[in-house]
Amino acid sequence: MATEVTIPNLGYTMTVAKILNWQKAVGDTVENGEILLEIETDKVNYGIESPASGVVKAILAKVGDEIPVGGLVAIIGKPDEEIDVRSYQKEKKEPPVPEKVQAAGKKEILPPVVPAAGGRVFASPLARKIARTKQVDLSRVMGSGRSGRIRMADVEKYILEGRPRKLEPTSSIGPVEVAEVIPLTTMRRTIAQRLAQSFHDAPHFNLCMEVDITEAKELLEKAIPKKAEGRLEVKLSLNDLFIKAVAVTLRDYPLLNARWKGDQVEVLRDINIGLAVALDNGLIVPAMERADQKRLWQIAKERIDLVERARQGRLTLPELERGTFTVSNLGMYDITFFTSILNPPQTGILSIGKTVDRPVVREGAIVIRPIVQMSLAIDHRVVDGAVGARFMQDLKQGLEKPGLLL
């Protein structure tokens, strides 16, 4: 069955996209996840991945054409499949379908938006020259310069070490048989590049603590009446309280709501809490705007919406770029304690484990209390240990006496 390739919605303000170039021609074989074409929007250049494996059956837009969001640009089909391109071209002339209808009506899910990757590659003229003569695809080279800029040394290193083997499952290295070779998707490559850079560039340190959430749980139970209606009809989770507590506490710690910019630190006005959302094929971090100013039920509603749209690949670029601090929770996987790699260029990330009933000592007696273990990873270039520790102490107080947060 033929699969349509359409222009994804990459941002609030985006209405059309200009075709920059086609990486494939009609008749070319294409793999699922391979870049088909590059488009230019008002904000970014972006590589559109093929939503299916097969053969490019038709290309319906020329380089330089401006195509509305949702507009059809190509059709992917099986090699022997007969496709009546004219029927598609007629359909293309119809006005673009509104986003919601489109999402409901289409079977394929648009690739999630990942900033930076697939966009313009920043490389020095010398790196470009070497890449040209050695036929290196610069989008596959990891840059070590400022903001991931590719320099001569990066291309040379890539040529020496990194040139990927031909993608054939039969290839074997030494005594170990390779069962499958998985080409990187744009998202995978972005995750790899950003996190490797973060882990390499930002000196991480972790601060860990236990939080007694007895009162927090009580508060949640009481917060929403059993017979709630209208806007209050929302299921609060502990996560919402964690988000609220982190956001409110961050107000007193501007340096934790800041980003590293090479020779300066930018303290950010808004507190936008990023939520790490696991996907089948990756990870994505949409951010909730000004979470410190939102009420608990608003946070819950927005969290549910962001997570759902993250899984559908329908997040917008601003939602992905506005985060100023990240929260990651692996409690649902029974993880009691873990640490995270910073989400660059942010300064802090809080890792939250599973709530476990544990024996603890209170006023000389052993009692059973719900305990959550948290760890805060910080970029030591920006913040020192004591500041992070005080933040954690305040966060703990806020969660153990949640009335303080309200």
């Binding site: 020095s124 003229p125 010398l126 790196a127 470009r128 020259k129 310069g145 400022r146 800029r149 320099r151 001569m152 090479g262």
Partner: protein
């Protein structure tokens, strides 16, 4: 090899050329006593007031005399006491000296050398501290030399005096009392030949005049940080040794250009543009320029050092280019 001062090296060049060629003579404000920077001191004892003499404080006359006398076959070497005062005689330099050989179809030669000191002297304020190299680089028909060491000062001045075209010879006040090796035997340095003071694989610093020793200081510090830089001095801005500059950048792939004059419309802009035009593909980082801020040079010493380039600013520019 013996070491002498930059001012002494210039004096030796003048004396040697005056002995060699009776047509060479020096004059200007206070040259009989060797003021203000001692270059001409004592020349009057050997050559007398016929060939070493004071003039009124009138720069138009000083260069006007040079244009006229050189036209008639003499080889005048006038001194303008501060390069800031060249504004008084721009017409004589740029319209007369620089143009008349061309306009006469080559019938008349103008073998004159205008010597003048530029740059900082320390608290001499906006009208006595300027570095005007770039202005004269922009005048077709002039040659421009900016020596950075006693050795270069002597060798280049002798070449300038023997040149049949007008040469603007821009010295540096703060270099006059610096010492360096200068051979006793005679030598000449051809124009348009850069000098590489040290070689490093990571980055090329193109430095002019007093910025050469500042760049060498910066290079020492950078070496401790593991960054090896080449320091290249073009020595003459017209003609410019573009080949040496390009060859060096082809090896290092990064370049910082350092001059004492203002950045806007400066020598660094010219050299940088030339590099980008010729060998963009060799650059692994943006071209960086270190120069004076685009303001009049302040009288106040703290402000002055804030405005002018120095070794620390060079180190920072190199670090920036290396990390880009």
């Amino acid at each position: 090899m013996r070491e002498i001062k930059y001012a002494e090296a210039l004096r030796e060049a003048l004396a040697e050329e005056m002995r060699r060629d009776p047509r060479v003579f020096v004059y200007g404000e206070d040259v009989e006593l060797g003021y203000a920077f001692t270059v001409c001191k004592g020349l009057i004892d050997e050559f007398g007031r016929e060939r070493v003499f004071d003039t009124p404080i009138c720069e138009q006359t000083i260069v006007g005399v040079a244009v006229g006398s050189s036209m008639m076959g003499m080889r005048p070497v006038p001194e303008i006491q501060f390069s800031d005062l060249l504004m008084m005689c721009m017409d004589q330099i740029c319209n007369s000296a620089a143009k008349l050989r061309y306009m006469s179809g080559g019938q008349v030669k103008f073998p004159l050398v205008v010597r003048t000191p530029g740059g900082k002297w320390g608290g001499f304020a906006a009208q006595h501290s300027q570095t005007l190299d770039a202005w004269f680089m922009n005048v077709p028909g002039l040659k421009v030399a900016v020596p950075a060491t006693p050795y270069d000062a002597k060798g280049l001045l002798k070449t300038a005096i023997r040149d049949d075209n007008p040469v603007l010879f821009i010295e540096r006040k703060l270099l006059y009392q610096t010492s360096g090796p200068v051979p006793e035997e005679e030598y000449l340095i051809p124009f348009g030949e850069a000098k590489i003071h040290r070689e490093g694989k990571d980055l090329t610093i193109v430095a002019i005049g007093r910025m050469v020793p500042e760049s060498l200081k910066a290079a020492e510090q950078l070496e401790k940080e593991g960054v090896q830089v080449t320091v290249l001095d073009p020595r003459t801005l017209v003609p410019l040794d573009t080949r040496a500059i390009l060859n060096s950048v082809r090896q290092t792939h990064r370049v910082v250009i350092v001059e004492e004059g203002p950045k806007r419309g400066g020598v660094g802009g010219e050299i940088g543009a030339m590099i980008a035009e010729e060998i963009l593909d060799e650059l692994d980082a943006p071209i960086r320029r270190v120069a004076s801020l685009d303001v009049p040079i302040p009288f106040n010493l703290a402000l002055e050092s804030h405005v002018l380039p120095n070794d620390q600013k060079i180190v920072e520019a190199v670090r920036d280019a290396m990390s880009f």
